[in-house]
């Protein structure tokens, strides 16, 4: 039996996706050459932008959000050789960007704190707190700047000490193209 824990706001897909892109990477490649995080984000954004009328805004925002997720996976994977999946799905009204990797339990605890605070206190308060405390800003930034729901589904991992984490950012399509 698999125990599943939901952290923060983790909306389920509203139906079949109109456009999907999924890329598999190993974190060690990202850590070895950091700019690969941005290359991957730009590639996904370039693929998705054609589903929007305001393509330039959509490309910029999707790339910004995906880059934060990919950097997160690069920094917090329990084993740099375990495959990580980056997936973006456009459902028409909403866009889900997610990264699925194996993270250490310690990181899952930190993630639970941040995602819980985002749900409880709101993105603005968490963002200001992180900025003031010189803490990691990425998830609070995405939640605040793009009115995104940010959450995670955590299940047992396959590597020792690892948890399978699917970190998902859900944004309205209107927000993605700044309508």
């Amino acid at each position: 039996m698999t125990t599943e824990t939901i952290l923060g706001r983790f909306p389920e897909p509203p139906g079949p996706a109109l456009v999907t892109i999924s890329v598999e990477v190993v974190p060690i490649d990202l850590v070895t050459e950091w700019r690969r995080c941005g290359i991957l984000a730009d590639f996904a954004a370039g693929y998705l932008e054609w589903a929007f009328s305001r393509r330039s805004a959509a490309r910029s925002i999707v790339s910004t959000v995906v880059n934060e997720l990919v950097e997160n996976a690069a920094k917090f994977s329990v084993d740099n050789r375990v495959h990580t999946h980056v997936t973006i799905r456009h459902y028409g009204e909403v866009v889900h960007a997610e990264v699925r990797n194996e993270a250490a339990e310690e990181h899952v605890h930190r993630l639970a704190d941040v995602l819980g605070a985002l749900s409880r206190d709101g993105a603005e308060a968490v963002f200001q707190r992180c900025l003031e405390g010189r803490l990691g800003l990425g998830l609070a930034l995405v939640a605040r700047d793009y009115h995104a729901a940010v959450g995670a589904r955590v299940t047992a991992g396959r590597t020792p000490g690892g948890k399978d984490v699917c970190l998902r950012v859900s944004m309205s399509a209107q927000e993605v193209e700044q309508r």
Partner: protein, 113 residues
């Protein structure tokens, strides 16, 4: 392909305290930004006002915003007035104004169309 060529540039303008940033700023950590922004931070000791032009920055990741906040903290400590220039047409630059002015109400952010 040059692996070592940075995707960004940080250049001093002709007036003292004037800085122009351009390219893609997606460094891996706030420490990497501290190194990249060192010329700006160092120069704060010699001016009463500084301006940082971000209009030609394509992307700045969250570590970069932390790095920029560190520059603003250093400017505050030295009593240096800061003006940031951005473009309203670039989504993240538009958001940056409200990201930083909450903690740094003393800075001025000018957004050009």
């Amino acid at each position: 392909m040059s692996a070592d060529r940075p995707d960004y540039a940080i250049e001093a303008g002709s007036s003292p305290g004037t800085w122009f940033l351009r390219g893609v700023l997606r460094l891996e950590s706030p420490e990497a930004y501290a190194k990249a922004f060192e010329p700006i931070t160092h120069a704060l000791g010699a001016v009463r006002a500084t301006s940082i032009d971000l209009t030609r920055v394509v992307f700045l990741n969250s570590s970069g915003i932390r790095g920029l906040a560190d520059v603003l903290l250093a400017a505050r400590a030295k009593g240096v007035r800061v003006t940031l220039h951005g473009s309203a047409g670039v989504p993240w630059q538009k958001k940056l104004a409200t990201s930083l002015t909450g903690l740094f109400p003393e800075i001025e952010m000018r957004l050009d169309r």
